[in-house]
């Protein structure tokens, strides 16, 4: 636990002391701000039965931009240490591999929450500026927050795992991006008319981010996706632990 805390703060510090954090935050806020404005305009023009929150988080545009975030914030975690050789110093200090993995993961989740915070503030700001109460309810907002947290946890776990596999940050980023995108696109498999539809594709859809976000951004809290995201992330972190331990036995 001691080592966890120390590495956690060290990682967080070095993340927010690097320009990457601010570049990512600025660009992401810009992108989502653009979509937000667009969504508000669209909803003003046409009658829409869904809330503002729901519409934003079920838009494919939003997710495309959103997913670039994960490779960028996770790629350096282990890949950089492997390349620089600092992994050797880290693991010859009296720390458990699990503490290192969890600390890096947790610090990235916190960094992620800070990065998406400005985007999240759009909603309360919008509400207080326009006094528009019908745009969305609080449940939808908090549900979406929970959804983004869960999606973030899973995607960061994918990134942590990818980063532990290689010493090349670009490869780590690419692996993360593909992993994250595949998981997302499962949701569209069911709607692709060119593909033969079966129970298999329907099943895959069930694992998809969009599906879960739609229920959550309606303000409906379903525990099944929660268990799914958390357990899948735990499995990826366990795999990361094994990859790092494997170095010892590498023959």
């Amino acid at each position: 636990m001691r080592a966890f805390t120390i590495i956690f703060w060290k990682e967080l510090r070095s993340f927010f002391l690097s320009p990457l954090a601010y570049v990512v935050m600025a660009l992401f806020t810009m992108l989502s701000g653009f979509l937000f404005v667009n969504m508000v305009k669209a909803m003003t023009a046409n009658v829409n039965p869904q809330s503002l929150v729901f519409n934003l988080f079920s838009s494919g545009w939003f997710w495309m931009g959103f997913f670039i975030l994960f490779p960028l914030i996770t790629m350096r975690l282990f890949a950089e240490e492997r390349k620089m050789g600092t992994l050797e110093g880290l693991f010859t200090a009296p720390v458990r591999t699990s503490e290192v993995v969890l600390a890096k993961f947790a610090s990235t989740v916190v960094a992620y929450l800070v990065l998406i915070l400005p985007m999240f503030l759009f909603f309360p700001i919008f509400k207080s500026l326009t006094g528009e109460t019908a745009a969305f309810n609080d449940g939808a907002l908090w549900g979406s927050f929970l959804g983004l947290l869960l999606v973030g946890i899973l995607n960061i776990a994918i990134g942590v795992f990818a980063s532990s596999l290689t010493q090349n940050q670009l490869i780590a980023a690419m692996l993360t991006f593909v992993g994250v995108m595949l998981h997302y696109m499962f949701g569209y498999l069911h709607h692709m008319s060119a593909l033969p539809q079966s129970e298999f594709t329907a099943g895959l859809t069930y694992f998809s981010t969009v599906e879960h976000m739609q229920t959550l951004s309606d303000g409906l809290i379903d525990t099944r996706p929660m268990i799914y995201y958390l357990s899948f992330s735990a499995m990826l972190l366990a795999l990361t632990h094994h990859v790092l331990e494997y170095r010892k036995w590498q023959a």
């Binding site: 001691r2 120390i6 060290k10 600092t86 992994l87 110093g89 880290l90 009296p94 023959a251």
Partner: protein, 317 residues
């Protein structure tokens, strides 16, 4: 302090460390010497719990490196080869982070960091970013990192690698000074360094221990064997034949010809004096002689003899 028995590390199809056994006592400075790829770094990495051994066991400060890895790591200060550091941190910040990571409390770590910076001469650069430091300073940061939590054992993998002569001298002095308080295990391929700093040398080649002794004893043992160097004018073949026929000669080798002068190196049995005999033959046969020396061996000869000669002999067969 260190107790190693039959430690082995095999990589795919290659044995990097082959059943080595040795002991290092408290307070000793031991040099690990060997050509590149001899298995020095692998051995050190196993002792510092970065890699696991394929076979055999080892203990550091009484703790098994496999079963009590955390306890071992608490007691070992390790400076890896090429000194990896977090380049985006400041010197003091980095050392404090490392001290805390090694189990020190906040206050304790601050005092320890100041002390380590003082020992390694880093106080002036404590606010600098590590990526702006020169190689020599980085090396010192690595050393300060290794000793910051006052470990029982210091393991330094090629501590003077890539430094200029002045910096090498500084680091060497520092190591000698640290030897008063710590047990130190150094790996290096620079012989001079070992002669200067270490109380004992372990020569490693192809994963096996070739010798383990004080530098002085290694040299003495070798000197007993003896090497004689002769330079004759013209073709060396005739002279070589004559010398080969003498008693007590183990091998004769023509090494170099420079401006008609051919140098012949002769290896003799222990305690054999052949210079006089060679001289008499030279006079009788009217050889033109420029040099006739009984060579005194250095650690370098010991090293060459124990590592390189073996390879050449094998390829000759």
């Amino acid at each position: 302090m260190i107790h190693v028995t039959n430690l082995t590390k095999r990589y795919a199809g290659r044995t990097a460390v082959d059943e080595i056994s040795f002991d290092v006592g408290r307070g000793e400075i031991v040099g690990f010497l060997g050509p590149n790829g001899a298995g020095k770094s692998t051995t050190l990495r196993m002792l510092t719990c970065y890699l696991s051994a394929t076979e055999g066991r080892a203990s550091v400060a009484g703790f098994d490196i496999f079963k009590d890895s955390i306890k071992v790591r608490k007691r070992v200060g390790y400076m890896p080869e090429n000194v990896p550091l977090y380049l985006d941190m400041r010197v003091k910040e980095y050392l404090q982070f490392r001290a805390r990571l090694k189990g020190m409390g906040y206050r304790e770590s601050r005092a320890a960091t100041d002390e380590a910076m003082d020992t390694c001469g880093l106080t002036d650069v404590q606010r600098k970013m590590i990526n702006t430091l020169s190689k020599g300073y980085r090396q010192r940061v690595g050393l300060a990192d290794a000793l910051v939590n006052k470990p029982d054992l210091l393991v330094l993998d090629e501590p003077t690698n890539g430094l200029d002569p002045n910096q090498i001298r500084q680091v060497r002095d520092l190591i000698r000074q640290l030897g008063e308080r710590h047990t130190i295990l150094i790996s290096t391929h620079i012989l001079h360094e070992v002669e200067m700093t270490c109380g004992r040398v372990i020569i490693l080649d192809k994963g096996q221990i070739k010798a383990s002794d004080t530098p002085q004893n290694l040299v003495r043992r070798l000197r007993a064997l003896g090497t004689v160097s002769v330079q004759v004018k013209g073709s060396p073949e005739a002279a070589m034949k004559e010398i080969e026929a003498m008693t007590g000669v183990r091998s004769v080798k023509h090494t170099i010809t420079r401006q008609d002068w051919a140098r012949i190196e002769i290896e003799t049995e222990a305690n054999t004096e052949i210079c006089e005999e060679i001289f008499q033959i030279a006079v009788a046969k009217k050889w033109k002689l420029r040099e006739l020396v009984q060579k005194t061996a250095s650690l370098e000869d010991a090293f060459v003899n124990l590592t390189i000669n073996k390879k050449e002999k094998k390829s000759d067969d």
